[in-house]
Symmetry: C2
Subunit: 228 residues, 2 copies
């Protein structure tokens, strides 16, 4: 998988940055270290000043790339969803059987990110943890409708719509394909969070994965033989 990614650039909405961080060495260091720092201290404690200090640069230089830390978070998470979308398309493209296709999709979207799919300067394992812990904060804001119109959530929405279509392909009569799709993606993040911080609120542990649970949830919902 590594080689395939080497020459691909994830297309993030250009309004999310002032200057493309991919275009310079400093920009890449900003992105790379913001992931490490947000993971370490959490989004609330993270500031551009701390990031500047960390990379031997300063606040004002970071502001040349990102308007504020909210936009940086949107950039990072958009990148992550774009990266996942790429894996989703790659994995499911050639599968003709709808059930098999959806099964693969759920696997790609809910399995833990593994270390070996490393993408240049971005640590996807840590980034996936940031998504679990911080993604909600990027849309649970007063400005959500305005930012949605600006297209800041496009990739995430596309991802859910893609899986939604796969759900419809399995059972065209199912009444809630989009809700189920959004539940699977959001539920996956939530189950990973619970596993780490509220283990009594989940059945996921060393043996049961969020993927197991969500796979069961999806295919039970789509089965036509049930009495639900």
């Amino acid at each position: 998988m590594k080689h395939l990614f080497q020459n691909i650039k994830i297309g993030v909405n250009k309004k999310l940055f002032v200057k493309d961080p991919d275009s310079t060495d400093l920009g890449k260091r900003i992105v790379e270290n913001s992931i490490l720092l947000i993971h370490e201290m959490g989004f609330e404690q993270f500031t551009f000043k701390k990031l500047g200090a960390r990379i031997g640069s300063n606040e004002s230089s970071v502001y040349r790339y990102f308007e504020n830390k909210h936009k940086l978070l949107l950039y990072l998470t958009s990148w992550y969803w774009g990266w996942l979308e790429y894996q989703l398309v790659l994995t499911t493209n050639g599968i003709p059987n709808p059930e098999d296709k959806l099964k693969s999709a759920i696997e790609v979207l809910t399995q833990p990110v593994s270390i070996d799919t490393s993408f240049t300067h971005i640590n996807e394992v840590l980034l996936s943890k940031i998504v679990i812990n911080e993604y909600s904060k990027s849309y649970l804001i007063k400005e959500v409708d305005k930012e949605n119109k600006e297209g800041y959530f496009e990739i995430y929405k596309r991802l859910i719509l893609r899986m939604g279509e796969m759900i419809i392909a399995v059972n065209p009569d199912y009444a809630y394909p989009h809700s189920l799709s959004s539940t699977i993606l959001e539920g996956s993040l939530h189950q990973y969070f619970l596993q780490e911080h509220f283990p009594s609120l989940t059945d996921c542990d060393q043996h049961i994965t969020p993927t197991d649970y969500l796979m069961d949830l999806a295919f039970h919902s789509l089965s036509t033989g049930g009495n639900g």
Copy 2:
């Protein structure tokens, strides 16, 4: 329902406040107006200074009741979950049939809060909207394990465990009762949010409610006749 609630006090963890806001008139005004103000401007823009101005008091007086706005949010949401738990117990207590019981539970926990169940100075309709928009922020923080140990999330956890038991009663062989329970509660908040801000990501609208969707989800999962 109104009369029943009139003399009940929701038991919120005492560590969440410096001084019980229920014990004074100012305290009640702080709680009442914090709900209005957080709903109006969102949690990020909300400050104790603005709240003080709003109630014709000042910042320092608010600090006499709540350490900071994070604790205030925990207080408000704990109160909300406690209020919902009370309704849950009241509604489901006498139901002998497990399916009927779970059905009632899902209805109570996922239906929109109606105006007529008004509780003194607290506007539950607005409070439920605050929970939809802000609750995640109360636990998606670095200090979550510490605060969990302090018991700040007890009521929410109890609510999920209660519904988890009802799920087990319907189908003791189901492998994911706690995950399903947490998914229903969290998924309900999420579907309401999507309905308002990302309608393309949900099937819930004027005719289909989050309750419809989650009811279907739950009972399909628990049905033993399915091919999932």
